[in-house]
């Protein structure tokens, strides 16, 4: 393999941090969800990279990545439904205003 493992990990880390930043800083709930999708992809990259570089004979990494993608789909579906419901109820998707647990 021509590309060092570290590069992959660094890229995945960068993507994860971008997603994390999005989840932490976006005002819009859907924006937060987008950040989470990025983080999930970063994780998936890691899973596949570790499969490719460390245990190429075992399929665990790819299977896990598949499950993650499936779960991400369910998460996106449910999360977006929640956001839509919250928007209907409160007329906003600004996370700061969705503070029903507020003191």
């Amino acid at each position: 393999m021509g590309i060092p493992l570290y590069w992959w990990l660094a890229v995945a880390a960068a993507l994860f941090c971008l997603g994390l930043y999005g989840a932490l800083s976006r005002k819009n709930a859907i924006g937060v969800l987008l950040g989470i999708e990025l983080m999930l992809n970063a994780v998936n990259i890691n899973l596949v990279v570790f499969w490719r570089y460390i245990t190429p004979q075992a399929l665990t990494g790819q299977i896990f990545a598949m499950f993650v993608i499936g779960i991400a789909a369910a998460e996106a579906a449910a999360g977006l439904a929640i956001i839509i419901a919250a928007y209907r109820q409160r007329d906003t998707v600004v996370v700061d205003e969705l503070d029903m647990m507020h003191w």
């Binding site: 789909a73 369910a74 996106a76 579906a77 439904a81």
Partner: protein
């Protein structure tokens, strides 16, 4: 391995370059004399009403949701279908259970009239 995807990469490059080249050429040769009628959305004369960013109906979302679910189902069933002749008999039962559970989802959506296009 990479060479197998090289064709895809070349295709993507060409598929991207062709419209860019066409649009760029048109951009170079077009006259630049805008007027209100020319800038209207529909030059046939119909006035647009309201903003362009209209709100979609939630039903679209439901359809997209159904699509996502069955997309995932298809993705998970594909390995099973490919490996079907190498798999033991019980794998069929597993797959049937898998399909049956998601069929339940379909039945539920149906019962809730989520599939009706109104």
């Amino acid at each position: 391995m990479l060479s197998e995807f090289a064709f895809v990469g070349v295709l993507i490059v060409f598929a991207s370059l062709l419209p860019i080249a066409g649009l760029g050429f048109a951009w170079l040769v077009r006259p630049k004399k805008p007027n209100p009628i020319k800038k209207s959305t529909y030059e046939c004369g119909l006035e647009t009403i309201g903003g362009t960013w209209v709100q979609f109906r939630a039903q679209y979302y439901i359809f997209a949701l159904m699509f996502v679910v069955f997309d995932v189902e298809a993705v998970f069933l594909l390995p099973w279908a490919v490996a079907y002749d190498q798999l033991p008999a019980y794998a069929l039962i597993e797959a049937v259970i898998f399909i049956a559970i998601l069929a339940l989802a379909l039945v539920y959506a149906w019962r809730k009239d989520a599939l009706r296009w109104s």
